[in-house]
Symmetry: C2
Subunit: 195 residues, 2 copies
């Protein structure tokens, strides 16, 4: 197959995700990835020195897709901070729910990878909390929010909404009442932030 | 041993808890419980018709201890609802943290029992949410809280504080920053409830 194309890290990561989805995280090997790309496994190892490094990179890529999508919301100009914050948590919930519900095999695969790569996950959570902090600071500047400690406030907001992004709660995301519950929690938190 | 004492359900449950702690939930049997009490296993079965019924009853008893302790806080006269609510969540957190930290074997045992008895756990969570609702309604009556839907608000409060009572977060309860995080979350929620 496409062995004539330049073998980039991005192509290897795409193929790895597909191989993980197909064989499951316990069975997928670097040889499977090389075969899917029509290259030798040595070529793959030139980009990722170990199987663990490859698995870490694919986990990071998966999580960073959500970060990029959410950063577009925090960066949007001309929207009040309370609306931005609500939209941000709704988009995070929707992204997680979509990942868990529409492609459960890939979600289960990444659940295994996430347990293996706690450093990557910690960094991801810091990026998300940083995005929340940016919106909180913006709201304080515009006189919409009162938050003497924006960083602690951002962490509190992230913690208080765990039901709607922590994968441990994924089984509850199919309940018909979950959207009303989301609105009740986020509504209460936004009232708590009000200047 | 004390076979001359009347064999009550309460004595059987006490002995069962001790046997579960000693042998672990996978190995503990009704015969072990009968032996600890110095009675025949038939005598135990006269109170609890199956091993599953006995395990369910011991789970219920364990959870109801927390319910009784917390009900004393919600019932206290002459304290403003915001203080009551903060105390209630602090006491729930303290009880869970104490159970998880001071007797980890018993906590692990009950984690197994809880997975077996989801009906008992659902009822327990309804009791806890009902206690929160009582305080919310009190606060609305006294003009301290605004909450058009006290039941939905109680559920939102319970969901938003999951980090400080859901056993899934027990590993985080040892972090030195966890009390400051509790204060930040509960403070934000109380401001959101303010009339």
């Amino acid at each position: 197959m496409a062995a004539t194309e330049t073998l980039t890290a991005e192509r290897i990561l795409e193929a790895t995700e597909e191989v993980l989805r197909r064989y499951g995280p316990a069975k997928a090997t670097v040889v499977d990835v090389a075969r899917a790309l029509g290259v030798s496994h040595g070529s793959v190892y030139r980009h990722f020195r170990t199987k663990a490094a490859l698995r870490e990179a694919v986990t990071e890529r998966w999580l960073s897709r959500t970060e990029v999508m959410l950063a577009e919301l925090t960066g949007a100009a001309g929207r009040p901070a309370p609306e931005k914050l609500k939209d941000w948590f709704a988009a995070l919930f929707e992204a997680k729910r979509h990942k868990a519900g529409d492609d459960p095999e890939l979600f289960a695969t990444y659940s295994v990878l996430i347990d293996e790569n706690s450093g990557v996950v910690d960094r991801h959570l810091e990026v998300l909390v940083g995005q929340v902090r940016t919106v909180v600071e913006e709201g304080v500047r515009e006189g919409e929010f009162t938050a003497p400690e924006p960083d602690a406030t951002a962490r509190a907001l992230f913690s208080a909404t765990a039901h709607f992004h922590d994968p441990a709660y994924a089984p509850e995301w199919r309940k018909p009442t979950v959207d009303a519950e989301f609105d009740a929690v986020v509504g209460l938190l936004l009232r708590g932030l009000r200047a």
